[in-house]
Symmetry: C2
Subunit: 583 residues, 2 copies
């Protein structure tokens, strides 16, 4: 799915997708593409990686866990069925043969370059050895469950393009399966690199099946949400067994990464008591509740090695949840947050012992002056494991605009080394995002991520800015729109004042009108001065007397054609455009 007639999804020689933008000057510009090949929702996506996985010979299919009505929640149990069963094919689940580890981390550590690494290197435009070595060091992950062969491989790590995750999912009071699948497609169309299904309402299992089968990007979940549903929503009734069973259920479906709130320890909970906003993570509060109710240590922590062994069999990555993240700028970087981060660092090392890929989640709400410290401590303590932050919001005062308050923090934290940004939509704190909010959230985060790529000097990142700015400067309005993150919105805003087609070739716009156009004036400057010798340029020579410099420039200036810059030639495109618009 593309967003503009000038866009097409093209496979490069390496077989990786790009969005090719056709420009009016005959050039093309290729952008990273997350939209996938398009999908019949009744069938699901083609299984891109099936052969790659099978060819490695270290996995096998098996008779999976039998589906249960409770997987879809209490409403399904009452009704005797899920609302809308998945209608496409369901493959038998696959996992590692006994004794094998099938994670990209395992392969990378052994020095093996996988098809997935090659794919990722081609998408990123980097050497495959960079991918392998970063994955081997734990500084990057390629989150890909062997049961989600539909996904196009992508990498999350600070040496690569900053990625964006979009959260979707229903809750007890809202939304249908079709709506969630539509949000998935909409999110990847606009550039989401991964999508998390955070459903907590009805039909959790079935909703996820539709989502995974239709997703060209890795899918993340928070299994504790579904586990809690299975025990009637009562945190104290949660057990390791219910949780483990839910994890296996999701591994078999093809979830690519799972948020695990194993860092919420019993001794951390009292640290939140004096906060302005206590515990704001759902997973964090569930586990805190469980710890308090049982007065026992968090079972996700005590059973962490068992969990890792399960995940290693499917190559499911762990996203270490920050259950004690600050929910207000007042609580940022406090003892509760940092105590948990130390535990997450310990868990990172433990996961790596099982060859399980890990990223670490981060806040939340952080005032701008504390943003850098978040990345620095996480990178130091967690040995460079990828950081994955929610925003952070730089202020609490703008509900309804928290995509913006958080994009400010997100761009800053990504510039300092965060590898993936979890989007925040305008509905944050107020309700669940609808389709429009998903689009706004993804676009806002794509621009924040790209701003960080540019600030990091990521190779090639600024090419996109330069291509668009050149189009702008040369009055190629259609190219400016086509190169935009959201071409139709850009064009619609332009057309509000100047709808005529000729206004899109005219050398001015509605902001200044034809006579005032600064871009036109400075193009004239370029036409005159483009050939001047910079060695003679007095402004480049700090020792030169300004008067002497001016005389020198004057000489050159006369040489190049004398008294330039009078007014636009009559009959120029600008004047004609103006006449047509005025008339």
């Amino acid at each position: 799915m593309t967003t503009h007639p000038a866009h097409s999804r093209v496979l490069t020689e390496a077989g990786t997708p790009v969005t090719r933008v056709a420009l009016t000057n005959g050039e093309t510009f290729d952008r990273y593409c997350t939209a996938g090949p398009g999908c019949d929702p009744e069938v699901g996506l083609p299984r891109l990686r099936s052969d790659w996985i099978a060819a490695r010979g270290d996995t096998e299919t098996y008779v999976g866990r039998a589906p249960q009505l409770l997987d879809d929640g209490r409403a399904a149990v009452r009704r005797g069925a899920a609302t809308e069963a998945w209608r496409g094919e369901t493959a038998a689940p696959r996992r590692a043969v006994p004794g094998a580890r099938v994670t990209q981390l395992h392969y990378a550590r052994r020095g093996e370059v996988t098809r997935e690494m090659e794919y990722v290197a081609a998408r990123e435009g980097c050497d495959v050895e960079l991918v392998r070595s970063e994955v081997a060091a734990g500084r990057a992950i390629i989150p890909l469950n062997v049961n989600h062969p539909e996904a196009e491989p992508m990498v999350i790590g600070r040496r690569f393009l900053v990625k964006v995750n979009a959260n979707i999912g229903n809750s007890a009071v809202t939304s249908s399966i079709a709506e969630e699948v539509d949000k998935l497609t909409w999110a990847t169309t606009w550039g989401a690199d991964t999508v998390m299904d955070l459903s907590t309402g009805d039909d959790i299992h079935t909703t996820r099946e539709w989502i995974v089968r239709s997703s060209p990007v890795p899918i993340g979940t928070v299994p504790i949400y579904q586990a809690l549903e299975k025990v009637g929503g009562e945190a104290d009734r949660l057990t390791w067994e219910v949780y483990r069973d839910t994890v296996v259920e999701q591994c078999e479906q093809g979830v690519d990464y799972m948020t695990v709130h194993a860092g919420v320890l019993l001794r951390h909970v009292p640290l939140t008591a004096r906060r302005v906003t206590g515990i704001v993570s759902r997973g964090g509060s569930i586990m805190a509740g469980w710890c308090l109710a049982h007065h026992e240590e968090n079972f996700l922590f005590t059973r962490f090695d068992e969990l890792c062994e399960i995940l290693a069999g499917y190559d499911v990555s762990i996203s270490l949840g920050d259950g004690l993240r600050p929910g207000s700028v007042a609580d940022a970087n406090d003892e509760a947050q940092l105590a948990e981060l130390r535990t997450l660092a310990e868990l990172t090392t433990r996961a790596w012992e099982h060859d399980v890929q890990v990223m670490v989640e981060g806040p939340g709400h952080v005032p701008l002056h504390l943003v850098e410290e978040n990345v620095r401590l996480q990178q130091e303590w967690c040995h460079g494991a990828p950081f994955y932050t929610l925003g952070p919001l730089a202020t609490d005062v703008a509900p309804g605009y928290d995509h913006i308050t958080s994009a400010i923090g997100a761009a800053a934290i990504a510039m300092h080394g965060t590898a993936m940004l979890c989007y925040v939509t305008p509905k944050e704190h107020l309700g669940l995002p609808d389709r429009d909010d998903v689009k706004t959230g993804v676009i806002t985060y794509k621009l924040a991520a790209h701003a960080a790529d540019v600030a990091k000097g990521h190779p090639g990142a600024r090419d996109w800015d330069d291509a668009l700015s050149r189009a702008r400067f040369e009055f190629r309005w259609h190219d400016q729109f086509a190169l935009s993150l959201d071409p139709r919105t850009a064009q619609a805003f332009h057309d509000e004042t100047l709808p005529a087609e000729n206004a899109k070739t005219a050398h001015f716009c509605s902001m200044c009108g034809p006579k005032f156009c600064s871009m036109r004036i400075s193009q004239d400057v370029r036409d005159r001065f483009g050939d001047l010798d910079p060695a003679l340029d007095p402004a480049l020579d700090p020792d030169l007397d300004p008067a002497a410099g001016m005389a020198r420039m004057s000489a050159q200036f006369v040489e190049l054609g004398g008294t330039v810059y009078v007014e636009a030639p009559t009959g120029s495109a600008a004047e004609e455009g103006a006449a047509r618009v005025d008339g």
Copy 2:
């Protein structure tokens, strides 16, 4: 004008306005208020400062420059009249008596504390000596023309709250006087601290009259725009005399600050020839055009001292325009920009010799890693004169979303010391902002400015965040809305999924539903742990063995009521709310 029933404009004991937010728990929260006392557009605002100015005895009224039809442009000349003459009272213009200087800088340097300084100190909640000394040092300005007594004094400087300017104004292809006055009111309603009238179309003089008479905030302009209109839009026909006459016209009307592109020197112009986007400032390109056409130095530079003498007579502040600001991230911090900044530093000192207040304008488009350098160089070179930046945009790729790309840069640059931010609306690069764009732009910049205030540790800035976050944590939904930058939007987003009134007192929202609410869970945690002795808290004691710590906590925990955290008591507000919503 207020934006919510819980808001009222209240005058403090010092006579300065605040927006008082009445909360449902009986508390109030006072916010900085820019909306003014409200205004009959046919009459204009009350003349708050008339007596203060007169009492100083250093100004006098005089017979001003005779109005000319050409002041309203060529269309007015053709028609024989402006479209809609100002219908309110017009006072005789006032200026300094011969030999006097009537600027706040002059008074401050003499050690005089003016009513304006007292007013500003009360609004900022700081000591008046801080205001006086910062103004005296040139590190802050109070832009207030003696002919704009309607304006409520405000201060621009890095030691004070970060301010936001909103640009309005028509162009040759769009908008009416009434629309522009409406945008002014709308902008100050949402928090604009100053407004610039950048009109370049018809009726420039009359539009400005309506705006100044109706504005409770300082009004800025770029006089070269009007001067250019007077010479038929042909830059080469501009003269110092036409410009000077235009400046006097605007001084007499009450314009509080004027952007002067005196730093665009002939020798700088060739530095832009190899840029991706040349010269993008209108004023910059006009003056570059003039310099080239005449092959003479910029008359704004050569006549700068004469200009200062005029402005000192009215206390009009200079905003030194950055005519060579980068128009793309590729051009940021380049030689053209920095060469002009050096000239602006020189002009700052020259203006100060005339006791004229100065701020310095900055870019534009700047990648995040170059943002800090912009402030640092400006502050060093310009001796701490206030920096006033347009954004900057952190990337070029998102036309239609440039309020966001620029808010990212704006928050960062303000954190590093920029004193005022010029807003950017979603229409940037595409068209002129309409009423909705003005609102979006102002709110986006208010949140960016506030994020910077918080990051700077500005005294009291975080109180607002904390008040809102406390309301959020305590499920005071109405208070959360009322404390928001945009209460109605926040409430509308909430009500999309949970419109019932009881959902605004329920202890959950549509994001998690009643069972899952993390805020509710952590309030339970607080209820239990709020009384725990922190000295016994093992998580606070790095030397304590976790097991021993847990045993200690356990003892306290049992003492405080035993096995807490089971489930919400039946019949609680949350459950009741859920029942009502579900039913």
